[in-house]
C-alpha cells in the first residue's frame, strides 16, 4: 500500500551502494577481485581488530546506513499499513494470519531486492572505478553477502514494526537502530578484551559469536568450502557462514512469530495516534 515503495527502495539502494563503494572499496594498484570487493564492503580488512576508537566505530556504523534507511522507511510504512488494516482490513477480512503472512512475504521480497540492488550498485561503481575481476570464491561469497544482510535487514524491519505497534514508530525505529549500534560498539569492547586477554576470540571465539552483528562481516567467517575459504582467508576461524545464516534465519522466525502473536491478539493493534493514519 505504499505507492512509491519501489522507487524509494531503488533510491536508497542506489545511493547507498554507490556511497559504500566509493567510501570502502579501495584496492591497491587499481585491481580487485569480486571476493575482495565484497569483503571490503562488509567491513573486513582481514583481521578482527576494529580498534576501539570513535573513528573506527563510526566508519563501521556508516556501512549500516543504507540498511538503517531501509529499516526506518519500510518498518514505519509497514506499521502504518498495520494501523489502517487493524480496522479497515480486519473488519472485512477475518483471516488475519493469512493477511499478515502475505504482507511479510512481500516485505521479504523488498528486503531481498534491496540487498540485490545495493550490492549491484556498489559492485558496478567499483567496476567503473577499478578493474574488477570475478572469481569463483567471490560468486559463492556473493551469495552469503546477499542472503545474510537481507535476512538481517528483514528481521530488523519487522522488529521496527513490532515495537512500533506497542510504542510508536519513532520508538520502534529508535530501539532497533540503538540495538544495532550497541552491537557495533561492543566490537570495540571485544577488541579490547582480545588485545589484553585473548578473551573475545579464544579457542572458540564465543564472545564474537555472541554479537549477532558479527554475522554481517564476511571477513570474519570461514566455511568448509575450500574455494570460499581461500577467497576469504579469515585470520580467525571463529564464525561460520552457515551458522550466521542460521542465526539470521532464527532472528527472522522469532520476530515473525512475535508479529503473528501480536496480530492475533486483537487488542494490540490500534490506530496510529501519531498521524491519524
Amino acid at each position: 500500500m505504499i505507492r512509491h515503495k519501489l522507487s524509494m527502495l531503488c533510491i536508497i539502494a542506489a545511493v547507498g551502494g554507490i556511497s559504500l563503494s566509493v567510501l570502502y572499496i579501495n584496492p591497491y594498484g587499481g585491481e580487485i577481485l569480486l571476493s575482495g570487493a565484497l569483503l571490503q564492503l562488509s567491513g573486513s580488512r582481514g583481521d578482527f581488530a576494529l580498534h576501539a576508537t570513535m573513528t573506527e566505530m563510526v566508519s563501521f556504523a556508516m556501512r549500516l546506513l543504507p540498511m538503517y534507511f531501509f529499516e526506518m522507511y519500510f518498518g514505519i510504512m509497514l506499521y502504518r499499513h498495520f494501523c489502517t488494516a487493524s480496522i479497515y482490513v480486519f473488519s472485512r477480512y477475518p483471516k488475519r494470519m493469512r493477511w499478515y503472512l502475505g504482507e511479510c512475504l512481500a516485505l521479504w521480497g523488498d528486503a531481498l531486492l534491496f540487498q540485490v540492488l545495493l550490492l549491484a550498485a556498489a559492485l558496478f561503481t567499483a567496476a567503473v572505478r577499478y578493474r574488477l575481476t570475478i572469481d569463483a570464491g567471490g560468486l559463492l561469497l556473493g551469495a552469503y553477502a546477499l542472503a545474510i544482510p537481507a535476512l538481517w535487514t528483514y528481521a530488523a524491519t519487522l522488529a521496527v514494526n513490532l515495537i512500533a505497534v506497542k510504542a510508536g514508530s519513532s520508538a520502534g525505529f529508535g530501539a532497533v537502530a540503538a540495538a544495532q549500534t550497541v552491537c557495533v560498539v561492543l566490537f570495540g569492547l571485544e577488541d579490547a578484551l582480545e588485545r589484553y586477554g585473548g578473551i573475545a576470540l579464544g579457542p572458540e571465539g564465543y564472545l564474537l559469536r555472541c554479537n549477532p552483528m558479527a554475522s554481517l562481516v564476511m571477513g570474519w567467517h570461514s566455511s568448509g568450502t575450500e574455494v570460499l575459504d581461500q577467497a576469504v582467508h579469515a585470520p580467525y576461524r571463529t564464525m561460520d557462514f552457515n551458522h550466521s545464516l542460521a542465526l539470521c534465519l532464527v532472528l527472522c522466525v522469532v520476530v515473525l512469530a512475535a508479529g503473528a502473536w501480536t496480530v492475533q491478539r486483537h487488542e494490540l493493534l490500534k490506530a496510529d495516534s501519531e498521524t491519524g493514519v
Binding site: 500500500m1 479497515y88 480486519f90 473488519s91 487488542e267 490506530a271 495516534s273 498521524t275 491519524g276 493514519v277
Partner: protein, 210 residues
C-alpha cells in the same frame, strides 16, 4: 451483547453491558471522551475480544461461529486510510478483500458522500473533511447490514453534515442497523431512534431522539 466486560491495563472499559439491537434502527451513543464508546464498537464488530460475555448475531456467537461481523461497515475516530493512494484506490483495495462489489458501486459510494471518484490526489493530501467523507464511503460501499459510525460528522462543514445525516437515514431505511457515537447533540437528536448513554463502561438508556 450479553454481560459484556472488558478491562484494559487494569481499567474497566465495559461493565456488564447488555444490548439488544435491531436492523432498520439508528442507535445513538453518547458519553464523555474515554467513556467506552469506541471500545464498545470495537467489541461489537469483533475487532477486540471481550473478557467475558457474549455477542451474538442471529443466533451465531462472535469469536465462536465467526470472527468479525460478516457484513459490517465501520468508521472509527482517528483511523485513516492509506495516505499514498487516491480515494478510489483506497476503496478498491478494501473492496477486493470481500469481492462483493465492483468499481461501479465503489464510485457510487464516493459520489454519495460528495467526493469525486476521479480525484487524482492522494488521500494524504485530503482535507480532514474529505478524509471523513471517504471513511464513510468505505463504510457504506458494500451496503452492510451493520454500520458503526464513531463521530461521523467530525471536521465536516455544514453541507457535509447534511450529506452524512441523509446517508445515515437512507441506510437505516434500507434496513441497516446503524450505531452512531457522537458528541454532537444535534446529530444524536436528529438521527437516533434510541439513545444510549455510556458512562465509565456502563450503558444505560437515555432520551429517545426525535
Amino acid at each position: 451483547m450479553e454481560n459484556g466486560n472488558k478491562t484494559i491495563r487494569g481499567r474497566r472499559i465495559l461493565c456488564d453491558v447488555n444490548l439488544e439491537l435491531y436492523g432498520g434502527t439508528v442507535y445513538g451513543f453518547i458519553g464523555r471522551n474515554g467513556s467506552g464508546k469506541t471500545m464498545l464498537f470495537r467489541a461489537l464488530s469483533g475487532l477486540i475480544r471481550l473478557d467475558s460475555g457474549t455477542i451474538s448475531l442471529d443466533g451465531q456467537v462472535l469469536h465462536r461461529d465467526f470472527s468479525v461481523l460478516p457484513s459490517l461497515g465501520i468508521v472509527l475516530e482517528n483511523a485513516g486510510l492509506y495516505p499514498d493512494l487516491t480515494g478510489l484506490e483506497n476503496l478498491k483495495y478494501l473492496a477486493r478483500l470481500t469481492r462483493r462489489i465492483g468499481a461501479g458501486e465503489i464510485r457510487e459510494a464516493i459520489c454519495r458522500v460528495g467526493l469525486d471518484p476521479d480525484d487524482r490526489r492522494a488521500y494524504g493530501k485530503y482535507s480532514l473533511g474529505m478524509k471523513q467523507r471517504l471513511a464513510i464511503a468505505q463504510a457504506i460501499m458494500e451496503t452492510p447490514d451493520v454500520i458503526m459510525l464513531d463521530e461521523p460528522t467530525n471536521a465536516l462543514d455544514e453541507t457535509g453534515v447534511e450529506d452524512i445525516r441523509r446517508i445515515v437515514l437512507e441506510e437505516r431505511d434500507r434496513g441497516a442497523l446503524v450505531l452512531l457515537a457522537s458528541h454532537n447533540k444535534e446529530d444524536i437528536r436528529v438521527l437516533s431512534d434510541y439513545v444510549l448513554r455510556i458512562e465509565k463502561g456502563y450503558v444505560s438508556e437515555a432520551e429517545v431522539g426525535g
